[in-house]
């Protein structure tokens, strides 16, 4: 009898402890791709997020610590959906975060709209996320293809190139970036013309046939819309064929660490690119501190994913503080229009469409005496307000 009594007491204690524990934390669920080539980006988001949390949790938010759980979606949208549902329905997370695949992000966004839980997109770049398919419960914590295109167009329109060629990975992201760059370029500079287009399959490794096709057309400039692994593959091909010396070309994220570091000193010079984070620019105190503490903890320099993760953590913390309690609706209201400090200055979460307002850096790749990899030079910094589509333009897409 005594044994049963003790057993029941222990059971009750454990159950109570479970509940008690649950009440003491803010739980974040992260669905992302942690297998395959995408991992090199998503690991940064996770690490940037953890780094910020270790600082935030020293003080806590509303007297609680922020904890997170992760799930690997293997870049498959159906698994991403199942994992998102598991985190929301079983793990009862307060906020959902993720993922790098736009298809998965859109599907999860739809689910979160139904379940009325905030979903913070950390690496997917489809402009549909906050555009056509945007709604109250989804927030985009990184740039989207529309923004990247407009920023690039702004700089390119001032240059003398007239005859453009468009090339890239044949999937949604590639087409979205290319169209965004060229269409806005044409608006700003009606004299530009498109000579032709070339599209290769995602994961293509041999670009030489396409490079020779482009070379024989003799354009002034090429917009290369590659994503993910394609970035490095194309740059390698450009270097070995000398393409970068023959015709200038642009890629979104060409100047990013994720593209340049793996190639070491052998990356092509003179490539035009945009990026939303460079650990060495601006060389402000905040950026240097961030880069150093990241490098100290994880043994590598932070890439743009680290910035997104870091900002997301601070936004979550500050929004809950402002809301005053762990309530999803109040969180959303607080997050709208919120500004946080980041390594690259103050960033704001635009209230009207839930799109984060990041500055974009435009630069040209160049060898560096300081590092073993190429860096961006002649950097032009474009503040968000100068290139982002207006609230009106975005909300019109939502019909």
């Amino acid at each position: 009898m005594k044994f049963i009594k003790n057993f029941v007491l222990i059971l009750l204690f454990l159950v109570f402890a479970e509940f008690a524990q649950c009440a003491d934390v803010i739980k974040i669920g992260i669905v992302d791709t942690y297998s395959g080539p995408a991992t090199t980006f998503t690991q940064d988001v996770l690490d940037g997020f953890s780094l910020a949390l270790s600082q935030i949790n020293q003080k806590g938010v509303l007297g609680k610590k922020i904890e997170f759980v992760t799930r690997d979606d293997k870049f498959k949208p159906d698994i991403a959906l199942t994992m998102a549902k598991e985190l929301v329905l079983k793990e009862n997370v307060d906020i959902l975060m993720g993922t790098i695949s736009s298809a998965s992000a859109l599907a999860i966004s739809d689910f979160c709209k139904k379940e009325k839980i905030p979903f913070l997109v950390t690496f997917a770049k489809s402009d549909k996320i906050t555009g056509e398919k945007g709604h109250r419960y989804v927030f985009n914590m990184n740039e989207n293809t529309e923004m990247a295109g407009r920023a690039a167009a702004k700089v390119l329109s001032k240059k003398n190139f007239k005859k453009y060629w468009i090339a890239g990975d044949d999937y949604e992201y590639g087409h979205a970036i290319a169209n965004s760059v060229f269409n806005h370029l044409k608006e700003l500079n009606p004299k530009v013309e498109k000579l032709g287009e070339t599209w290769w399959k995602v994961g293509e490794t041999d670009f030489t046939p396409y490079i020779t096709q482009i070379l024989s057309a003799k354009p002034d400039f090429v917009i290369v819309a590659t994503g993910g692994a394609g970035m490095v593959n194309f740059q390698k091909a450009a270097q070995s064929t000398g393409f970068n010396k023959k015709i200038p070309f642009y890629q979104h994220t060409a100047i990013e660490l994720s593209t340049l570091m793996p190639q070491g000193k052998n990356a092509p010079e003179g490539v035009y690119g945009t990026a939303n984070y460079l650990f060495y620019y601006p060389a402000t105190k905040e950026n240097k501190e961030f880069a150093e503490s990241f490098k100290k903890k994880y043994g590598r320099y932070p890439k743009s994913g680290a910035l997104y993760g870091y900002i997301t953590a601070h936004m979550i913390a500050k929004a809950f503080e402002k809301a005053g309690k762990v309530d999803k609706e109040k969180f959303i209201d607080a997050l709208e229009g919120l500004t946080v400090d980041s390594p690259i200055g103050k960033v704001e979460m635009r209230a009207c469409d839930h799109q984060i307002m990041l500055p974009t850096f435009f630069g040209i790749t160049k060898k560096s005496s300081e590092y073993d990899f190429l860096i961006a030079s002649d950097i032009i910094s474009i503040p968000a307000k100068e290139y982002m589509p207006t609230c009106q333009e975005v909300l019109k897409l939502r019909k």
């Binding site: 395959g36 399959k201 490794t205």
Partner: protein, 292 residues
């Protein structure tokens, strides 16, 4: 597109198919002689690439380390294949053909995760060796020297393989065993040993393909899925166990793929599949002779 650029396209498109050929010839041996549908073949390809990367980063990037890389990596991959074959596959030849898929799929999953455990998730790149960097000029259009190197290596490997499997005693026995295993062992030959060696050879070829492509590609997880389906299709249309068939199949696949996308960018990727469908409808057993 004028004739010289078409010619360049052709030459350059061919160099990638050489890698496809090398990996496919390995699969052709395994599927043709041992009748194992080896889904893990892609994993060996990936391991070959990662090993080559590690070898060259360990020894520094010179021509020495490159040659060492493309010889050592396939050998190590072959060894892994040897252990798998002796340890597992050889006991299961009598099993239902399709069930072997479970086995190879299981190993593919395990090997994939082992690569992740060993090398981590970041992708790696390595550079082409110094003596092969840069490009040659072909009617004013550049062809990277490394691609020319691949164009040379492909046929060399083809000839070596043809020699081994058609002219040596080992090769002839292997092909005979592929057709009639009982008969060959009845004559007193150790068929298990033959099968073992053939399997190791197949894995070695997959590893070689990976090592050769490593300098021009992002070495990343997921490489194991990137060409396994194409390899299966190539082997079928070429003829099982047939080296020249693998070459022919790779050429058909590679060329239809490159030209397809140039001609019709939106739906270009259907051309290789269309080619396979046409071949299978006209010559159901493959273009060249099959072992079974």
């Amino acid at each position: 597109m004028n004739s010289s650029s078409i010619l360049t396209q052709l030459i350059v498109g061919l160099s990638r198919t050489m890698i496809l050929f090398i990996v496919s010839s390995g699969m052709s041996l395994i599927l043709g002689v041992l009748r194992i549908p080896n889904v893990a073949h892609g994993s060996f390809y990936m391991i070959g690439a990662f090993l080559s990367y590690t070898i060259t980063s360990f020894l520094g990037e010179g021509s020495y380390s490159f040659w060492l890389g493309i010889t050592l990596a396939p050998i190590i991959v072959g060894l892994i294949g040897f252990f798998l074959e002796r340890g597992f596959f050889s006991y299961l030849y009598e099993r239902e053909h399709l069930m072997l898929l479970l086995l190879t799929f299981g190993f593919a999953s395990i090997l994939g995760d082992l690569v992740k455990l060993t090398w981590g998730a970041e992708y790696r790149t390595m550079n082409t060796p110094a003596f092969l960097q840069g490009s040659a000029d072909f009617f004013g259009l550049p062809i990277p020297n490394y691609n020319l190197f691949l164009l040379l290596i492909g046929p060399v490997i083809a000839i070596i393989l043809w020699f081994i499997f058609n002219k040596t005693k080992f090769g002839k026995i292997a092909r005979a065993a592929a057709v009639d295993k009982e008969m060959v062992s009845a004559v007193g030959i150790n068929v298990n040993l033959i099968f073992s060696l053939t399997f190791v050879f197949g894995c070695l070829l997959a590893g070689l393909g990976g090592a050769l492509i490593a300098p021009i590609v992002n070495i990343s997880l997921g490489m194991d899925h990137s060409l396994i389906m194409e390899v299966f299709l190539i082997v079928i249309i070429g003829g099982l166990g047939n080296i020249w068939g693998a070459l022919l199949g790779s050429l058909i696949f590679g060329i239809t793929q490159s030209f397809g996308i140039l001609i019709w960018p939106q739906f270009g990727i259907i051309f290789p599949y269309l080619a396979v469908v046409i071949v299978l409808l006209i010559r159901p057993r493959g273009l060249l002779s099959s072992t079974w």
